[in-house]
Point group: C2
Chain length 337, copies 2
DNA sequence: TGATAGAATGTAAGCGATTACATTTTATCT
DNA sequence: AGATAAAATGTAATCGCTTACATTCTATCA
């Protein structure tokens, strides 16, 4: 039997049971307007009794804003998703918003309507590449509050973006290696076309250039931010006998994969090959040797995206780019300081 | 300015522009009823032109089911959240449902109304401990489709539950250690009160008993499923000079922390202390030594929870308990086979 | 060509809340 | 006690959509 069509108490049922009008019930629910304590108690009791919960759809229609923001993210098992969430949610809750998440595993596949949109949320935070440009354009045209995470706005759309100093972080990492005397520095690039990865590559190349070290394309390995693909890339270098004395990985997962492949091939880290990663995931500290890496202030990224979105939702202007600083965390994998 | 109150096209705007009635527009949107191709095209055009998206709240009110299921989970950065999601979503999408997520970081703190409820979703999947018993009872009383993940239903509530064979997995792990001749087997219990952890502890104790090895409370260390707390627990054992030749960790994070502490103290793994974990997170393979552990079919857990929920949503009866099998993955940390 | 079935479209009643405005009750002051 | 302001409550319009039912086309057939 269709469960949902019956038995659900409405505001009217509550009103009847409590012997008041629906308006009064609405007032006690929303704590606006004046209601006598006695009446209010009676209403609350009726709500309890009937197991009543307001119908959000109806509320929205009746004019109230949903007080809800949506976060749309790809299904990539980002190890920092939960920190990001924490940053976003903390700020949002402070301001009285709820947060709903939609993971767009198979974007584009089913061109249905998004379950999170301008009607049921006050704003959207969109993680890198989880929405098509067309969709972004639609929202933008609607002047619907939107913030992009780890992704710059497509050409011509003025949508605020929050991310970390990818380029600078990469430069720092590479500089650190160069300062230690390494010259043959390979780069594990992560996912091709991913914005974070691209900026990190730019940082890598610029820093090389700054020190007059020629860029060698064969020293760049692509993958997908996973240990497996990095492992394969490193094995390939080893196989081809390419001379490498250091690796800068665009993410810690890849760094881990690289370590694994190197150690299996009998290379010592950092004596034979030094490694620096990017992200500082929880595990970096526990790798052996522990991984020198670039830490990103993920929680801050979350918080700032919420801050920008809130501005937008209040009708204020938001900063079109928020760049959060990264930190070099020196551990053992890069050779002692 | 309040962005959301204006400029949003309604079905009526579309109808006007396309020169048809709202009923017709509704028909083309929902692909039910008959509409002439020519008309339909005109409507689609108007939708495009106006950037129109239906108001989900209004749709629900007007009777259509939302075709949406909600997943409620705690903020714990479960390393397998993304796999779980994949399992759930894949199945759900097959059946034409959308999935919306709500992370209940600070449950109980703000006793507001859940943003996911019987009005805007057809069913809910609830991850361990993310809803209060009272809330569960409310849904249950409403006969609202509900499936619990990694958590048994509270006393008296008949809510289907999907989880893995925690006890059996733990037994297997411990048996493996015992079979290798280890006698002083410590247990890193993870979070006290967590159901998974509890079942794993029961498995540990039963297996000990089965081999006539007395259970020693001082060999159980509690933590919170994190490497840090496990590290501390192990350090404590070391400090107290407790004799341990193997550790069974209720999760891989803890196993990692344990390894770290042991190695820092100069112990060799597995020669001095063997370790077996639980979960088989991505990193287990990359630890050094690589971690022997119990693998859980996370994706299947997700898929089965979706399957059970779908039954419920169709008004069929669901299995009150689905127990998915675990696997022993033998690597290096437990001593060679 | 007129009748008729089926396709295409339209009309209008609800769905469950909120809220401006109207009304009644209560409290306060002279 | 009577007037009056403030508090408490009620009335009813409204939000955007779906859908049962009514109506109008269109094509086909005798």
């Amino acid at each position: 039997m269709p469960q949902n069509t019956k038995n659900r108490a409405t505001i009217e049922d509550v009103a009847n049971l409590a012997n008041v009008s629906t308006a009064t019930v609405s007032r006690v629910i929303n704590k606006n307007g004046q209601v006598a304590k006695k009446t209010s108690d009676r209403v609350l009791e009726a709500i309890e009794e009937l197991n009543y919960t307001p119908h959000s759809g109806a509320r929205q229609m009746a004019g109230g804003r949903p007080n809800l923001v949506g976060l749309i993210f790809p299904a990539i098992g980002d190890p920092f998703m939960s920190e990001l969430l924490e940053g976003i949610e903390t700020k949002l809750v402070e301001e009285g918003y709820d947060l709903l998440l939609y993971s767009s595993q198979r974007l584009g596949e089913s061109p249905r309507f998004l379950p999170l949109n301008e009607h049921n949320s006050d704003g959207l935070i969109v993680f890198a590449d989880s929405l098509s440009d067309a969709e972004l354009a639609r929202f933008h045209q609607l002047e619907f509050p939107l913030v992009l995470l780890h992704q710059n706005a497509p050409e011509g759309l003025d949508i605020p973006c929050v991310t970390v100093e990818n380029k600078k972080g990469a430069s720092t990492a590479v500089k650190h290696l160069i300062d230690h005397g390494y010259k043959n520095i390979a780069f594990l690039a992560g996912l091709e076309g991913h914005e974070d990865a691209e900026w990190r590559e730019i940082g890598y190349r610029e820093e090389l250039a700054k020190h007059n070290i020629p860029f060698r394309p064969e020293l760049v390995g692509y993958g997908d931010f996973s240990a497996e693909t990095a492992e394969a890339a490193v094995e390939n270098w080893l196989l081809e006998g390419i001379n490498i004395d250091a690796i800068f990985a665009a993410d810690d997962n890849s760094a881990q994969g690289a370590m694994f492949a190197l150690q299996r091939a009998g290379k010592r880290i950092p004596q034979d090959v030094a490694i620096v990663g990017f992200d500082d995931i929880t595990f970096s500290r526990y790798m052996s040797p522990s991984l020198t890496t670039i830490r990103m202030p993920i929680k801050d990224v979350g918080r700032h995206s919420a801050i920008q979105l809130i501005k937008l939702m209040k009708g204020e202007k938001a900063d079109s780019l928020t760049l959060l600083p990264t930190d070099l965390i020196i551990r053992d994998s890069c050779g002692k300081d």
